[in-house]
Amino acid sequence: MLPSIPYAPAPGASPLSRPLLAGTVQAGFPSPADDYMERSLDLNEELIHRPHATFFLRAAGHSMVGAGIHDGDLLIVDRAASPQPGLVVVAIVDGDFTLKRLSQTDDGLALEAEHPNYRPVSVGEETDVRIWGVVTFVIHRP
């Protein structure tokens, strides 16, 4: 017996090549929302301005609870934002990452914790302090 040769559609006539009919067929009423359609919201658009300069870090510890930053929170850090007094920053103090609020004091710039038990670190000559990035948003699980 001869083997049966299955039917194969000619090239260019595959079922997938038919144009997709988007929208509704005029059989019933058109959707009243057709003219108002917009894209869904994308959180990245709201929270991240420069993806290539934005990093995610994880907060550890309790010294910033006053700023609403808790242990385990996700931090959105923008390295393109300029570190102004009043902003929460990721700083490098003697080679270690630390999360503090940058503040202007009479003696110059300082890094302040937001917890009564912690003292501020002044950004002086004796300590090696650099700013790594600015925290722009905190994602916290309530």
């Binding site: 040769i5 299955p6 194969a8 090239p11 595959s14 079922p15 997938l16 420069r50 993806p51 290539h52 300069a53 990093f55 995610f56 870090l57 994880r58 907060a59 550890a60 510890g61 309790h62 010294s63 910033m64 930053i69 242990d71 996700l74 931090l75 390295r79 393109a80 990721v90 490098i92 080679g95 270690d96 990452f97 630390t98 999360l99 503090k100 914790a113 650099r130 790594w132």
Partner: protein
């Protein structure tokens, strides 16, 4: 004008962005399997650690200079490389990604600007936004831009950006300061031969009669000399030419003597190769498998085996590629050897429509949907979440040695850098 932006000690710099303590300390990054030194910070170079040196030969120096050793973390380097490129793209729209740490910039549309100060801005922004230090060389051709980049790196007065002077004697002086072997495209082989002809520097090469170069070497050497004279012979390449083959191979962490381990390793290579091929939108007309013993161990019996199978029609389907790769592995396997390396090569690649086969009964759309679903799950849940059982269930000895690997800081939620509040 063209420019070449090159990341300084790229892999070591990536490690430092997330581990600021490494600043100022010698850092080296090792190749896959922690075999050789593939990147060094300036401090490590100063400590006399050579590029490509086997790690075991450096142990004493690692200890003496307290060198920080890292396994290569290509996931991290790749992500950081993309960040650098996107930062540059904010300033210059036409670029060619030449390698993981080098980007050519087409500055011709921006010639009305002060390109040197533009490049200084780019350099500062890239450093601020990504943490990666870069050097930029500016000149009228790609070959000269590469040469200018070298000077930007070596000459501290350049502060990371060097524009090649357009007129002599400054131009000639700069060209004369670069060894002929360090000219882009010359390499060590031609370098030796050129020095034999009395050609020492880039300037000597530029002054050589180009017909002579074509006769003694080839058209590439001739083109290099013309580019050194400032004549553009190479434009930016927008897209890399489509690849001819796709290889996935690796040396084993420990030598493999067991068939099951070998077939699991090859299955993994086949799966990763198929995945990469689909990612690039291609199909393969053939698959080859190869396995070999350690050629440096002359105390052990040697064997190199392999085989090739063809696909009609061409395919990028994991199950089909895997089935053939496993069949070839069974053919190529010989018991009783200590295997050091194995791999899979996909060949006869095409990018575009698949030529249908007359006797092909496979349901292609269904197969494509299955592969798309597989890739999507692995993208979301992490590589290897969904995989054929042939690739093994538990980690095995054939896996790479990566004893000093840093976390995937930028691509894995569980491995984000931690900051103490």
């Amino acid at each position: 004008m063209y420019a070449l932006a090159d990341c300084n000690n790229f892999y070591a710099s990536c490690e430092r962005v997330f581990e600021p303590k490494l600043e100022g300390r010698p850092v080296v990054v090792l190749s896959n399997n922690d075999g050789c030194v593939v990147a060094r910070s300036q401090e490590a170079k100063d400590a006399g650690i050579g590029m490509g040196e086997p790690a075991f030969k450096c142990r004493d120096r690692f200890d003496r200079y307290q060198v920080v050793v890292r396994s290569s973390n290509y996931t991290l380097y790749d992500d950081m490389s993309r960040r650098v490129v996107r930062s540059i793209l904010e300033f210059v729209p036409d670029v060619e990604i030449y390698s993981i740490d080098e980007v050519f910039l087409d500055l011709r549309p921006l010639n009305h600007l002060d390109v040197e100060s533009l490049c200084r801005t780019i350099r500062n922004r890239v450093k601020q936004w990504t943490g990666i230090p870069i050097s930029i060389g500016i000149a009228s051709t790609k070959t000269l831009a590469k040469l200018a980049n070298r000077i930007a790196k070596k000459d501290p007065t350049a502060q990371g950006v060097f524009q090649l002077p357009e007129t002599d004697p400054d131009r000639a002086l700069a060209l004369d300061s670069v060894d002929v072997g360090d000219v882009w495209g010359v390499g060590s082989r031609w370098g030796a031969k050129l020095r034999g002809l009395g050609i020492r520097s880039a300037l000597d090469l530029a002054r050589m009669p180009t017909d002579d170069l074509r006769k003694r070497f080839n058209v590439v050497a001739q083109r290099t000399a013309l580019e050194l004279r400032g004549l553009v012979c190479q434009e930016l390449e927008d897209v890399a030419p489509p690849r001819k083959t796709l290889v996935r191979s690796r040396s084993f962490g420990d030598m493999v003597t067991d068939f099951e381990q070998m077939s699991e390793a090859i299955a993994n290579h086949a799966v990763r190769a198929a995945e990469k091929l689909r990612h690039e939108g291609g199909t393969a007309g053939q698959v080859s498998v190869f396995l070999s013993t350690n050629r440096f161990r002359d105390d052990l019996p040697q064997y190199h085996g392999g085989g090739t199978a063809a696909f009609l029609p061409a395919t990028a389907s994991t199950p089909i590629i895997l089935r053939e790769a496993m069949r070839l592995t069974r053919f190529a396997w010989r018991q009783g050897f200590h295997y050091k390396k194995a791999g899979v090569m996909l060949g006869d690649l095409s990018f575009g429509e698949i030529q249908g086969g007359l006797f092909d009964t496979r349901d292609h759309p269904r197969d494509d949907r299955l592969m798309a679903a597989l890739d999507e799950v692995n993208r979301k849940m992490g590589a290897g979440t969904l995989r054929p059982a042939a690739t093994g269930v538990t980690p095995k000895g054939w896996r790479m040695k990566r004893e000093h690997c840093s976390p995937k800081y930028t691509t894995c939620w569980r491995e984000l850098p931690r900051v103490q509040t």
